[in-house]
Symmetry: C2
Subunit: 161 residues, 2 copies
């Protein structure tokens, strides 16, 4: 791939880096203390495995974005990066799916399972996590665009040749 | 792509079709009645939005697998299918992530949020869903292999030419 292709992808990578890093930090710093019936309860992301998974995958994706920002995209290494792009996009997708599923229960509860919504008790915690998830979603969309761009770019080159 | 490439992908598509269809059916038919303190409770997939999402995405992916089984892979249509492969793989990934996150709470509960595990009360329901999720995961892996195979195949062709 030439410089004309390299530039927009590098820009997207930098944007993705920013989004996934901000998402990880926002969710990881979400905590709220609440006093209920004389008890002090603290809501924090590390109590929920799905949120931990979200933070970890977004940190890994951030490191990856930073690393490939400076790597060449051509040849065998380009192929490895393309395969890694597929894998990381899927990793982020699964973490967003998991975190959103839990956030939905936190907001609406699940009557059949007897799980009560908790966001009325810890609104600031929920809001903080929410913004983190939105940023994670933005990061994922950028990853998706990079992948689609690369894949269609390569295959259109093929169909013309 | 020639017939030599077409054949393994068609085989994988057929396998993916079987796995996602079986996953959707298994989760959709999961239900168990339980009698607690004189009350009749029924656990069913449709009480949980994430499981509904899982069933819907797996049905959509099954229809897609069936449709593209008979479509040509070359030219512009091949490019559209490649883009759809990326999209569907991500759709399945998100649904597995969401369903696994909820299944984890069903099994272990979440002490901090006060959500109790329910699988001790409805073990058959949980087991049924579990097998469905495993099949969904198998379907996803096949989708991933198809995508990786196509992407690397195309890009290796490029790096040689």
């Amino acid at each position: 791939m030439g410089l004309a292709n390299r530039l927009p992808i590098s820009l997207l990578r930098a944007l993705a880096l920013g989004a996934t890093l901000a998402a990880a930090i926002l969710v990881a710093t979400s905590r709220e203390k609440v006093y209920l019936f004389g008890l002090t309860l603290e809501a924090k992301y590390s109590d929920t495995p799905s949120f931990k998974y979200f933070v970890i995958t977004n940190i890994i994706a951030s490191v990856y974005s930073l690393a490939v920002l400076f790597l060449p995209l051509a040849g065998l290494l380009g192929q490895v990066i393309l395969a890694l792009d597929v894998a990381f996009t899927m990793l982020l997708t699964s973490s967003i799916g998991a975190a959103l599923a839990i956030a939905q229960v936190g907001k609406k509860g699940n009557t059949a399972a007897g799980w009560l919504p908790i966001c009325d008790q810890v609104p600031r915690y929920c809001h903080h996590v929410e913004i983190g998830l939105i940023l994670g979603f933005v990061g994922l969309i950028i990853y998706f665009v990079i992948l689609l761009y690369k894949v269609l770019n390569i295959s259109s080159f093929l169909s013309k040749s």
